[in-house]
């Protein structure tokens, strides 16, 4: 992220300490993760210790400090989804894509992450792909999602 962009984000929230979470969210929306350099700069410009911003960024699971893929597949493993087979959905994703939960494919196309409840338990088991909710998941739907993620970048994703 270039400096002007980062500065604009920080200006939106008035360089205030109370806006740091929102700043990190905006950074993550642009970069798909929170890079160390940006995090340190936020601390410096807002005038709070880097240790506190790091504590904040690691406290919330929604922030990632590691680079993530172009497509992020969130598999819900909350209580309702667990009961309705969320773990099997996760298994199928990790097998088909060939990475473990929390990992990103070496080509940087897809990241699989577990989440604990996305707030629509009636649709369990639920998967959220790039902020789009897919409910009542089954093995076939998993295959279709994997195809779709690959479809856009077919050349890059490993079998």
């Amino acid at each position: 992220m270039n400096l002007e962009m980062l500065d604009e984000i920080m200006r939106t929230y008035g360089y205030e300490e109370s806006g740091v979470v929102a700043m990190l969210q905006d950074i993550q929306r642009k970069e798909r993760y929170v890079p160390e350099a940006e995090l340190r700069l936020v601390a410096e410009r807002v005038g709070i210790p880097a240790s506190r911003v790091y504590g904040l960024a690691t406290f919330y699971r929604s922030f990632s400090l590691k680079p993530r893929g172009e497509h992020i597949i969130n598999v819900c493993l909350g209580t309702a989804c667990h009961v309705r087979g969320g773990a099997r959905v996760m298994d199928k994703f990790t097998r088909d894509i060939g990475i473990q939960p929390g990992e990103t494919t070496p080509d940087g196309k897809v990241t699989i992450e577990p989440v604990r409840c996305v707030g629509c338990c009636g649709l369990a088991p639920v998967v959220v792909v790039d902020e789009e909710v897919h409910g009542k998941m089954n093995q076939k739907k998993v295959s279709r999602i994997v195809e779709e993620c690959r479809g856009v970048h077919r050349e890059g994703v490993q079998a």
């Binding site: 340190r40 601390a43 210790p49 880097a50 240790s51 790091y54 504590g55 690691t58 406290f59 400090l65």
Partner: protein
């Protein structure tokens, strides 16, 4: 001044203080791990719990955080208090079975063994090092990172801190002796006569942690 009743006896205490120093001042023994006079209280370890009745409400409160007020009725060794402290000690013992201070406190409360699954941590997450670093050293080199069972204490990005001055305040305050100043410090080196040499290093005052001009 405020009048309060502690274990049936009426005492006077200055407004603005918290219960713990007042109680200790009249000779009540209260175990603590996360409390230190030099930094602000935090209420993390829950060992200093006492039973406080304010008006109609009675509750267990961390005495290190509870402000003195007129008419409080405090019980420091009721059955409820002892039971709560024993539970806290048991949980701490499960987390840190190898820490002498934790064993000692548990022993004093009559807790010999823990029913909970054991871990082998040294740190009780009391946060004394964080407060010492922020309030005494004023450099905020470390803070809590992550959350829940993954929580630990770390400099930013779990790497040697750029702001740490090597004062070892954190090491001095730590009740469990789990801190190694080398975890937090800049790569030790000292700039002198236009060349950078590795510092010999004093293990007590950590005075080798001068910043190098050569980009460390």
């Amino acid at each position: 001044m405020a009048k309060l009743i502690v274990d049936g006896k009426e005492i006077e205490a200055r407004d603005g203080r918290t219960l713990l120093p007042v109680l200790r001042g009249i000779g009540v023994r209260i175990p603590t791990l996360c409390f230190h006079e030099a930094v602000s209280p935090y209420g993390a370890c829950r060992l200093c719990l006492v039973e406080v009745t304010a008006g109609k409400r009675t509750l267990l409160a961390a005495s290190c955080m509870y402000p003195v007020a007129e008419g409080l009725v405090v019980k420091t060794a009721s059955e409820r208090v002892i039971r709560a402290r024993r539970m806290v000690a048991e949980l701490l013992l499960a987390r840190c079975p190898g820490v002498p201070r934790v064993r000692e406190i548990a022993g004093e409360l009559g807790v010999q063994a823990s029913r909970f699954p054991q871990r082998d941590e040294r740190c009780v997450l009391c946060g004394l090092c964080v407060r010492g670093c922020a309030e005494i050293a004023g450099v905020h080199a470390i803070d809590f990172a992550s959350r829940g069972v993954y929580m630990d204490l770390a400099p930013p990005f779990h790497r040697a801190s750029e702001t740490c001055v090597g004062c070892t305040t954190c090491v001095t305050l730590c009740p469990t002796g789990c801190l190694d100043p080398l975890d937090f410090r800049m790569p030790p080196s000292r700039h002198r006569f236009s060349e950078t040499r590795p510092a010999a290093g004093c293990t007590l005052c950590a005075s080798e942690s001068f910043r190098s001009d050569h980009g460390h």
